[in-house]
Symmetry: C3
Subunit: 138 residues, 3 copies
């Protein structure tokens, strides 16, 4: 059982799509595992706190400081710069955060904790249309 | 086939639970995949070296320096601070390290390498009771 | 359905093995999930851009600066040093990047995006023979 989710992004940050996923998984009454896979190398998948939105902006800001744009003097050693100053940092962040997630399903419900939401973390500045493949297996 | 593991923690660091997992998987003679998923956003799952305990304290210390408490002047840009100086750094570390792991099972045995152990990496200072869902599929 | 891939490495950097994986998966006409798991604690698995080789050297160089050898004064707090100055940094990088990947298979084809390749990221300087377990499930 597979589906594709499309997530429209407009700049760096976290975009929640927990509801789309739970709606799709709901109804299957078995145990199993949901696999999520993002088909890009400049964004990530994250499970993160869904309560305080400041967590999301803090995450974006921390990783922007840890991996600044290639216009920053500390990043002058990078060579892959022709796709823009946010491109190579996006690949680096995509290496540090998940491209795939595996979430158990118990009696047809995702085993997410109370405060866990599912996010796409966009690392590019320009708007993008991101594709996530979901596979539900027993 | 699913089970919940509970891991009691008392401060930041790595807590091994390889033996609990292998004991549960043992006896199933088929090939398959074990999925582990931690139901929290301020701790992580890690596969790491199980030989020298200094590896574990070095890991804790490195990530404590890379992502210091919000009382550190370099972290003053963070805004989600009301749950304590170790809370937002815990979310950041939880973004950098796995929330889920997938480990193949071969003839009823986890395909871990000789030096690989399974750990919960606690990122909070206060004692916590952490829940890990395990799912074994063929 | 399981197989072991062996990847020979000669120093830090990314080694692509997408073709070995697709050749093995090809022919199975069903939907499913491919799990990859590396049986070591000093290298990682990565999905990254397969177009410009500069992305790969930039990734190696960034992580070498973020986690320098233990001979670097900033890393003098590390204690696990007897296996060489590249050993503990290798464990740290192995904590920051995936040990396992889950990639959906659609009609017998890996759901990789156009620019996604599968890499082993070697974190040690000396040549190594690295083992990756692949499991294909429905």
């Amino acid at each position: 059982m597979q589906i594709d989710f499309t997530i429209s992004t407009s700049g760096q940050g976290l975009y929640e799509f927990t509801r789309d996923v739970t709606r799709w998984v709901h109804g299957n009454r078995d145990n199993g595992v949901l696999t999520l896979f993002v088909r890009h190398t400049s964004c990530s998948l994250l499970i993160q706190e869904n309560a305080d939105p400041e967590v999301q902006s803090d995450l974006r800001n921390f990783f922007h400081r840890l991996v600044p744009p290639t216009t920053d003097p500390t990043m002058s050693f990078l060579t892959h710069t022709y796709e823009g100053p946010d491109d190579m940092p996006a690949h680096i962040k995509a290496a540090m955060m998940p491209v795939s997630l595996a979430i158990p399903v118990t009696d047809g419900r995702l085993a997410l904790g109370t405060w866990q939401g599912i996010y796409l973390f966009e690392h590019r500045n320009a708007p993008h249309s991101r594709h996530v493949v979901a596979h539900l297996s027993r």
